[in-house]
Amino acid sequence: MLLAVVRRLVQMAFVMLGISILVFLIFFATPGADPAARIAGRNASPEVLAAVRHDFGFDRPVPIQYVLMMKRLFVTRDLTSFVNRGERVIPAIVESMPATLSLVFGAAVVWVVFGLLIGVLAAATRGRWPDRLLMILGLIGVSMPVFWLGEVANLITQDRYHDTPFFSWVPALGYTPLTQDPFLWFKGLVIPWITLAILYIGIYGRVLRASLIEAYQEDYIRTARAKGLSETRIMLRHALRTSLITFVSLFGLDFGALVGGGALLTEVVFDIHGVGKLTVEALQNLDLPFIMATVMYASFFVVAANAVVDIVYAALDPRVRAAAT
């Protein structure tokens, strides 16, 4: 077991290494991405351009530049931006983590609670109208592009109906740190939480419903019924337990991706300065240090979540263990 975990960690490291090399190569292969001229300033003379090139090390071979950047990112941890010079990359990312974590944790609470509710209710009333209604609502939630939903939400809460009692409490777009003003922090995150959660409530409700119904076919449920246990008890204490395996593993993957900056469209639309927004800005600015750092950060969480879920699965399910690498 331990060997498998260690082997998996080594593979994780390789994956991240591979991604970092690919990002670096893609950046330098893009015409116009060379930051020397942008850093030097408009209309810089050739001597100035050459001086800037040399200062930043752009005249060295690409592999050397890669190694130097990796060293500054992981070892000395003083990597600075190409666009906002002097701005350190790692503190910037660390400072933006609370915003992303606030957004993702809050949304996760909402979608887990509602996902459970919907899944259980739908499975309990399967085939009848509450089931159909909940499933249709869930499907609608899954079908909306999250950035569009965010724009529509903004239109309603910030502009059109902002002056009505329904939405006058909605503060201006942006994120307020929890330590600065807890009440404003909360008010500013309610609409983003709901917007982000709607998509996942649909998915998780349906997944839970499907696995509950599948669990109901199992023998041990029939036995429990034969023994005279109430439906509620069967649902909550027996069926739910096995169904939660899929639910939890899916949750691990999605949550990991979101923490790594996967909610970038939500952050952009609601002006929340989290890791996702930093990622989008870095990409649009073609700011290689920030791109590298945010990509490493995101891929770490995705790959780690993957590994954790796989390992947990192996630990729980002996059949999978036998076939696992």
């Binding site: 991604i19 592009p145 569009w148 989008v280 995705v302 790959v303 076939a323």
Partner: protein, 348 residues
């Protein structure tokens, strides 16, 4: 599909390995019949057909109803409304006289839903954009399922080092920032052309978003396929075939592949829905479909700068996406239910 499938060894369509159905009507016919009886799925199919037909008729709409070029700027244009000539972009006259507002919905043939900030007919662009969005979603789905099927099959069947390497490649692909790739490729391709077999990809070519979106979801589909193949490897009939000395490729083709195809078929509407959402997200960030092509995602992006004065420009394409994706999901549910023999045992 596969004629070599014998009723006795008929495959189950459930990933975790299932119960062999009774040899009644062939499995595909049973599935088709069940699908036909599933009313929501049939409604969804109808909606999809309507959307596809409407988009296919875009040129006809352009010719007879809107009579404008959907891709050209029409900043100076004007139309006749109730006998009066109304400019498409109306300059503000009050106060300092800043800004221009595009014409709002006329609910007539021309500018049915109004104009966007360049004076183009939104309804017409919705129809043309729908063609692009649907086309990209379909082709990307095909690319994704073919690649994922191959990778999943090979990884699950071969096992060992091959499986480990492929799984880690899938990890790299899953964690990779496609936005960076999309931005970079869109700039590289301005002056160069990539050749993949008979297909040449230039900047602005639709093949680019198709490829990128298709690639991105390969791990998403390949993993369940791999899982299913792993499970199938341990089923009695495969173990028996191995014991009998049947060559591996034959086991792959005759026993494993047909089971995998049902999984892939279940994924078709789901992947189309996901790909459509991804394409709209990429186009919204300006790294998907490029002008002069339009897609529902690019129209939402166009509408962003008008969200306060003409919100319909951003809302309408979003509703189109919701309707299409919803129909695909409902249909997907129906297909999955139809192909799942366990449904026969379900209490309906």
């Amino acid at each position: 599909m596969s004629d070599a499938v014998l009723p006795a060894a008929a495959p189950s369509a459930v990933p975790a390995g299932g119960v062999a159905p009774r040899p009644a009507a062939g499995p595909w016919q049973t599935a088709a019949r069940k699908l036909r009886q599933d009313r929501p799925a049939m409604v969804a199919l109808l909606v999809l057909v309507l959307i596809v037909v409407a988009c296919a008729l875009a040129p006809a709409y352009a010719r007879y109803a809107s009579r404008e070029d959907p891709f050209a700027s029409n900043v100076d244009g004007s139309i006749t409304l109730d006998g009066q000539s109304v400019p498409v972009l109306q300059a503000e006259t009050a106060g300092l006289g800043l800004g221009l507002t595009p014409i709002g919905p006329t609910w007539h043939g021309q500018y049915f839903l109004g104009a966007d900030s360049q004076g183009r007919d939104v309804m017409e662009r919705l129809l043309y954009g729908g063609r692009t969005s649907l086309l990209i979603a379909t082709v990307a789905t095909v690319i994704c399922l073919v690649l994922a099927g191959v990778v999943g099959l090979v990884a699950g069947f071969a096992g060992g080092v091959v499986d480990a390497v492929l799984s880690r490649l899938l990890d790299v692909l899953w964690a990779f920032p496609i936005y960076l790739l999309a931005i970079s490729l869109s700039i590289v391709l301005i002056n160069t052309t990539i050749q993949i077999g008979p297909i040449s990809i230039t900047s602005g070519s639709l093949a680019l978003p198709m490829l990128i979106i298709g690639l991105v979801y390969v791990p998403y589909v390949a993993r369940p396929v791999r899982g299913q193949v792993l499970a199938l490897n341990r089923t009695d009939f495969v173990l028996a075939a191995r014991a009998l000395g049947v060559p591996p490729w034959r086991i792959l083709v005759r026993d494993i592949f047909p089971n995998v195809t049902t999984t892939l078929i279940v994924f078709v509407p789901l992947m189309m829905a996901l790909n459509m959402l991804t394409e709209s997200a990429l186009s919204f960030l300006s790294i998907g479909v490029q002008p002069p092509n339009a897609s529902w995602g690019t129209i939402i992006e166009d509408g962003q700068s008008l969200i306060y004065t003409r919100p319909l420009v951003a809302i309408a394409p979003g509703l189109c996406i919701v309707a299409t994706v919803l129909a695909l999901n409902v249909l997907g549910d129906g297909v999955r239910d139809a192909l799942d023999p366990r449904a026969k045992l379900r209490v309906s």
